[in-house]
Symmetry: C2
Subunit: 350 residues, 2 copies
Amino acid sequence: MRKGPVIAIHNRVVCLASRPSGRLVPDHFAIVDAEVPPLAPGEVLIRNTWLSIDPSIRLRLSAATPSGYLPPLTPGDPLVGLALGTVVESQSPGFAAGELVSHMFGYRDYAVVADGGETLGGAGSLTKIDPGEFAPQWYLGPLGSAGLTAYVGLFEILELKPNDVLWVSAAAGAVGSIAVQLAILRGNTVVASAGSPEKVDYLRNVLGVSHAIDYRAGDLKTQLAEAVPNGIDAYFDNVGGDHLGAALDHLRPGGRVAMCGAVSTYDTDSPEPGPPNLFQITAKYLQLRGFRAGSYDHLYADMRSEVGTHLADGAMTYEESIYSGLEQAPSALVGMLNGRNTGKTLCRLD
Amino acid sequence: MRKGPVIAIHNRVVCLASRPSGRLVPDHFAIVDAEVPPLAPGEVLIRNTWLSIDPSIRLRLSAATPSGYLPPLTPGDPLVGLALGTVVESQSPGFAAGELVSHMFGYRDYAVVADGGETLGGAGSLTKIDPGEFAPQWYLGPLGSAGLTAYVGLFEILELKPNDVLWVSAAAGAVGSIAVQLAILRGNTVVASAGSPEKVDYLRNVLGVSHAIDYRAGDLKTQLAEAVPNGIDAYFDNVGGDHLGAALDHLRPGGRVAMCGAVSTYDTDSPEPGPPNLFQITAKYLQLRGFRAGSYDHLYADMRSEVGTHLADGAMTYEESIYSGLEQAPSALVGMLNGRNTGKTLCRLD
């Protein structure tokens, strides 16, 4: 029971209004008024403050999702996504009003979340955050899911070795920009690709990448071959499609691919065919491994130690594209899927 | 120098006559008369007796091969392929007349081969064979490259575990039929697919497969789901294309794919696009590994011990589709690529 006067909390939730056919636009969403129900035992009421905009939610807006993936949303359903917020009221002994927490019920002003209840992988469970010296929203970015994804992809999946030549695609994005910097700081040669001159400038002059490619400025395979004529050993794939095809052609024998995401394939209802050169996997005995960071929560401490040190001493930088207000969340998602944003896309909710 | 009277050896070689555009037919080849040059030091003259017909040679008949693969042949070039033969004359201290050897210069009656010279992976180097109790041509099949490929794919690449549900495609073929039997003998549940009712009958009634699928008899994904409704853990891919796509849909989370070959994609000059569901690799954190048995010569002894024991005690069987005479080699290759042969395709040359 809430203490003090009974206050009606006005809540708003971003819902799927209609299923996109083809590319997503903000009109596929509606901001819907909602009630905040009384808390059941074990539940916590949270005022969301930061919403993480992640491309993979697009998959759940189509009528069918890949088998083994989360089920599709139905028009009328609220969206879900990683968020930070402040506990307003708690019926859980583990959480107290005023505490900063992360959870999966973003895309709304207020969320009622069960402690240890419905989760979406470890990162999605209700978790207390102590931001320490860092901006709190970095726990949705370089010190959160994006940081863990970059860290796991490089060191667990690719098992990056000191002399590996690494290619990172969508390198100006939330995950890519961390992966690029971590690999450079470990001494690797890094090729980084993105989709605009501004992003390439960011890769070169802010992240310090020696080989930066604008994949829209010319043939990707040709640009790769010019950047690193002797091939690559490892590819951190955030894009899929023709990027994966270019990697298969340009990987050296024994090369590895970390398949983190395939943003080029999300914003459609009719999946594109894969690249025609999959036989390269056999011919060059390549290894492709898909992964989701949610299975690697035990590495949060290691990741935060390495990334946190670099962020604190200025060796690593992190850019954010911030939208303001829940009503901007649909535009934030569409903007990110269209490649308009650099760094982590966030929506500020407080 | 040859001892005894100088005899002119009439030799014939299968050469590429013209590059196929689309599907291969026997007329793309010519049987060409050739001379046998005098032996240089270190060389051995071999009368070939058995030729292994392997699908991957088709890749080298197109104008371009996958990067990292062997280069294309040019019209006029002799074909190459694994063969068995008897040493006729030797200028090498390691080989004597009358010995049985394997080497890469098949597709001809006589071959001049350097000891430790030009090879095509370890399996292609000039190697003495002691057939012991087994038919000599089995050293091109279950006790040779095909056996090693099956063994490596199952135990090194897929790391097959006791309770894994395994799918093997092209299961009535040279490699597939060994893989299927090895896995059954280790106690695994095996789904096996092939492309005709006769092959399915062979899988069921000769190899003892409990779940056999004719992929031409209906939708492959539907048949897989009916055979093993709870999914598969491991897929031994000899086919590529839609078979790989079906596997990606039907693999359980964490599943593995050994990419041994992609025979469905070889017999064309315009490679087909890959399956549209590669995102499954990320969604279900799958692992795909290409391999070539040539990198695993150190496992020949282990493989021959396991496969040889099973063949000797009758627990394992092996079928051969044998063509007679060098002039039949083109038809043998075309027949195999068109899925007409069961078991190992061989051409008998003596």
